[in-house]
Subunit: 283 residues, 6 copies
Amino acid sequence: MNCLPSKHAIHKIIRIALEEDIGAGDVTTASVLQGGEKGRAVAVAKSEMVVAGIEVFKETFLFLDGGLKFKGLATDGALVKKGVVLAEISGSLGSILTAERTALNLFQRMSGIATLARRFSDEVKGTKAKILDTRKTAPGLRVLDKYAVKVGGAYNHRFGLDDGILIKDNHIEAAGGITAALEQVRRNLSYMLKVEIEAKNLKEVKEALAAGADIIMLDNMSVADMKECMKFVKGRAPLEASGNVSLAGVRAVAETGIDFISVGALTHSVTAADISLKIKHGF
Amino acid sequence: MNCLPSKHAIHKIIRIALEEDIGAGDVTTASVLQGGEKGRAVAVAKSEMVVAGIEVFKETFLFLDGGLKFKGLATDGALVKKGVVLAEISGSLGSILTAERTALNLFQRMSGIATLARRFSDEVKGTKAKILDTRKTAPGLRVLDKYAVKVGGAYNHRFGLDDGILIKDNHIEAAGGITAALEQVRRNLSYMLKVEIEAKNLKEVKEALAAGADIIMLDNMSVADMKECMKFVKGRAPLEASGNVSLAGVRAVAETGIDFISVGALTHSVTAADISLKIKHGF
Amino acid sequence: MNCLPSKHAIHKIIRIALEEDIGAGDVTTASVLQGGEKGRAVAVAKSEMVVAGIEVFKETFLFLDGGLKFKGLATDGALVKKGVVLAEISGSLGSILTAERTALNLFQRMSGIATLARRFSDEVKGTKAKILDTRKTAPGLRVLDKYAVKVGGAYNHRFGLDDGILIKDNHIEAAGGITAALEQVRRNLSYMLKVEIEAKNLKEVKEALAAGADIIMLDNMSVADMKECMKFVKGRAPLEASGNVSLAGVRAVAETGIDFISVGALTHSVTAADISLKIKHGF
Amino acid sequence: MNCLPSKHAIHKIIRIALEEDIGAGDVTTASVLQGGEKGRAVAVAKSEMVVAGIEVFKETFLFLDGGLKFKGLATDGALVKKGVVLAEISGSLGSILTAERTALNLFQRMSGIATLARRFSDEVKGTKAKILDTRKTAPGLRVLDKYAVKVGGAYNHRFGLDDGILIKDNHIEAAGGITAALEQVRRNLSYMLKVEIEAKNLKEVKEALAAGADIIMLDNMSVADMKECMKFVKGRAPLEASGNVSLAGVRAVAETGIDFISVGALTHSVTAADISLKIKHGF
Amino acid sequence: MNCLPSKHAIHKIIRIALEEDIGAGDVTTASVLQGGEKGRAVAVAKSEMVVAGIEVFKETFLFLDGGLKFKGLATDGALVKKGVVLAEISGSLGSILTAERTALNLFQRMSGIATLARRFSDEVKGTKAKILDTRKTAPGLRVLDKYAVKVGGAYNHRFGLDDGILIKDNHIEAAGGITAALEQVRRNLSYMLKVEIEAKNLKEVKEALAAGADIIMLDNMSVADMKECMKFVKGRAPLEASGNVSLAGVRAVAETGIDFISVGALTHSVTAADISLKIKHGF
Amino acid sequence: MNCLPSKHAIHKIIRIALEEDIGAGDVTTASVLQGGEKGRAVAVAKSEMVVAGIEVFKETFLFLDGGLKFKGLATDGALVKKGVVLAEISGSLGSILTAERTALNLFQRMSGIATLARRFSDEVKGTKAKILDTRKTAPGLRVLDKYAVKVGGAYNHRFGLDDGILIKDNHIEAAGGITAALEQVRRNLSYMLKVEIEAKNLKEVKEALAAGADIIMLDNMSVADMKECMKFVKGRAPLEASGNVSLAGVRAVAETGIDFISVGALTHSVTAADISLKIKHGF
């Protein structure tokens, strides 16, 4: 199940977004329209994309005006061609015009993320590797960004600082070494979280493994170094490759047999999917 | 003056972003550290970029922990080379580690926007054209996105639906034509806002001009068509080119002598600037 | 269209107002009533007035108790005589009693504003002058205050500091003169906003006009001085009279042929319209 | 002590008011000023008034910019002549200009209320009567409105629905009579609140007294009827006159020997005190 | 009427509680379920209890998912035996599972309070004494805590600091004695609130009575001392016993003939009622 | 480190709690005091207790009035005797009186929880068992409740639904069995969370172990059954005892050699620690 964030969480984002855009009022619509006009709009994919966020798109229109009718014509996760109609909205023309930009901003970002996640996932097909996202999301939009990643076929790393332990080099230094850091964590923390630790080379991987790390992150290693680490670890702990993995390079990393590859670009460098809303006055 | 949004507006964004990332607590830092460790961090540009958001970066650390010391070493708008140190933060190691990701997410997005805005601006140098942003921003982050655009040397179109009138094709259709729409607006609206109207061809440009539009947006026209329109208008109203103008194509558009070119990609398809935080335990 | 503020904006005001009045609970109603009583109430105009805010009145009752039935019997903008029934509310007697004061406070203020705006508008009938409001509104209620002004037949100046440029004497002094201020603004600001500038005498009007001001505000001038300015300007820019214009004096100002007259008293010195709610227990 | 509302309550109002006025930013100030200008401003009474809200005035400037210096030169409750300087503010010129209108809107309303409350209080001097306010306040501003009433020398009735019991005719009807209503209340309610009940004539006053009302409100009675009621009650319960008491008529009511006179106009029909801010660029 | 707090107040508590528990999402439910499963749950009393909060229990489920069906099978105030079914919930299995803990936490606390309040009330049956709660409630939950007290058959003291006057020893000392404190209060305060004052011995009771206290609180007195005070006061003012009155000792206090006995433990030392939710997959 | 929740989280709770208690204002303090009185208060333990929440206690006073001085004299985790002074507060007497109850409500609850957690922990000393809390906390106060548990020497189970997976019987039924549920989870979920599953008997324990559960919860088993399960599992997965474990019975459970014992009563049935504030007027 590609569990969509709760309506509550989605509405919070939509409310902020609509307030930001509308401010004291949509002066254009208010002054040009008489107030009772009806209209119908279709959202159309202007290039090939993986759809993500159709419900968020819908909720944005309905949040502004509960009287609008929304008909979704595509489902999240679908790969659609250019020209496909994704949804129809009908009702108050003024409401459609006022909500248009905010609804598209959310939908285009989410579909853009899903489309890129799908490309990365496709690239590693046939290998054991799972593509992971990171916490490099647009501030305030993480629930949507991470949902879109899953829709695209990739996987979520921890959501935030509270639901996963990732011990980085600075934590290690502060604790006085990998073994000390891992011991310190085990003494203090919820026993329900796995402990992942960063390692910069084989030596550190060895120490992490010996000290009982649940997962080991190979930080910015070459493919050759990754292979060496995997040879040593022999499946005793899952390994994650991290650090500027590009679409061009991801296949080579995946073919090492690594378990996870995390990709910040999935969410920090999004290209919005091209979706347009064509609005008709009257029915 | 590149007026930074108010502290109040910035803090609202930072609060949402930190709450989103920290949730119930930074379990890694809380369990590995003893609590009193001090540290120092430097933010380093990992590639050439236009810096934007150094104050936002600072406020994120200080919002979490008012006891941190922050020293900015670059100013917004500066073009910096790879390797340049942008800022130093010192104080509680735990606070630095907890704020790190959120602070970077904001700073990298803003600098990414400014860097792209600079490239577009540089591209049209020597022409009369000003590069404008759009309302295609990341929901919730518009004040930062639009500020970064200015830092990069481009200009802001209206902030939202309440501070500018832009009559689009659907408004025109609802009003019964360009002339009717413009008359309707003048009857109803604040006399302090200029009225911009969309035109798809020369015929519409002529009607808009005759009906007294303050600005005319040329919607998705070819360069040839733009030239024809300009020839007709002869400066009687400023013209704006709109619709998928790429970095490669922007020069040709600018050379028509047009007044404004709006570019959605400035904010809807951002590539985060590459900035890393190197943290040292102890002073 | 007298565009009413969005439901979202209205509900925000209503929520604050009800929370303020109800606090920990309506102890009178809770202790006297059994809980299931039904009632019916009529809102009656106790003096002649222009109705404004019938929707806000309705939403206040419905916000507290969605089960109430509300029937509006007058429309915003109507001039009603003493004794006219404006609305009927029926349903839970307790809910009606609890919402009563808050609903009336909003409705009476709005109708009071509209009534005064109508009187000013009527006073200038036959002249070219439009009556404008100012930003001297009750903090937190501006969307309602400004809506009521329009209902009364007057016009809105800018909504706030973000949707209009008004350069006052202090701005001028800071910039080093009228010409410098206007140049400075044009360099920095959104091209979609008109620029209004304050002038204290004919000399300043001349400079403002020469420097390209879109609108000129004549600050606290005598009628004679206004006439002189108008004679000079000859329609090259709209002029606005500002500064303690009373109902008694507004006609003389309007007859100069001026374009706009702004009146702070419309919203800063409101006399609530007299409306009472007569409630009946049972149907 | 004229207990000012808590800083927390004041800041909540100020935040809403500033957000409402500033919206996406003060575009005039941002575009005319360079950013570092300093200035000094004085707030001057433009007519005789009772000062109220000097702290609220101060907090508005400081809320926007903690670096401003504020020097209060008048104290709440003082009756000042036209021309008196009430306060000095110095620091960032931009901050002063941006906060100006919001700060004045609050200060002028509060001083307007205090001035009117003083006139009513003065009018009843030498009698036993205390002037009371009502719940007819500007929604969202009740803590300030009620504070200003006290500053002016009048008294507060209950703050809201939760801190006083006032049984009105509809409650009485619902309960099946005055006696039943009072019994019902005593069975159900917090024993710490006094019970006030409305009476329309002598007969109802008698029943209320017999049933143990703590206070009796004489609703819209003539002075003659009030006298008759007082003669009967003979001090066994305090009495309150209510219903459209004007400044002209209040003395006659007070001379009946009544305990309280409540006046809705104190807060529902405020004339803003005339205060202006004169700002100087530089020190 | 056991007036339940407003839906608005209840929803505010529920929203905070659900956000606290769900955070970024119910990961267990999201990963185990497919998404469309239906279920039915029954809430069962696991020991004898007084039911309180059935509406709050219901609203928690409906707040999360408006599509759930809730059927209340017990009413607030009912004393139920172990094994009694209190409510049935049906609809989305995932929603039921996600809301379960939060709904129970609220319902169990409220029923625990009501159960204890009932035991205290039963203990003083046949005497004149009323059991009162205090302000020693769980921060944020006072409206629910105080409602549960009433459901259990005890009474509410003031809700908070704003709806009742209770002069304690420190206030007395600051004012310079009991008489001075009472005079000071009468000069300054809303005439709608009764004035209660603390007395530590008979001498203080005498002074308080002479100075016109409405209610006198006997602070931590022995039963013998209470009797002496009552003998002196002879009903001229109600008396309240306060200070660590236990279930075992309450009868003796009540039999002195005292009017009120306040019991902090009712809300500060709650034992949650034992209620479990049995959930079935499918209908 | 007993990581205290962030100041931000603490302040959110304090703000809600103070608003709830103060409402429209502390009328007693405002009317008895003149406004400038100074005072000093000491918080004293009235019975033996484990201190928890001294910082929260402090922040409550400082949140209301930043000018107060607070001196902590005990540290969280300390076992103190009756009569020990825990803290001193000095400054505005009015502020101390107004904050008193809210500050104590928080501090007493937290210390009550820590004291009980300590008793459970002491009870299992010498065994391998760790005492765990549950999600049965007071809604809105979970961060404080769980912190107090740690201060008392017990351990935290997951914080909420988002940072740990606990598959209960209903999840199992919905998935079609233990094995299916565990497989389903592994397919869908963040790889950073451990998976705990409920088992009602040895058969289920066996299946859970075979299917790779990270932790197994023995739900309401007898000590004998627990022993049998442990004998079978032989340390291959940690085991947790759950279900109404009392202080009297916890030792027997611990002596089975089990890893964890979760105790809902730690937070759902708190007895507030007895702390009083003695306030002196003047220094």
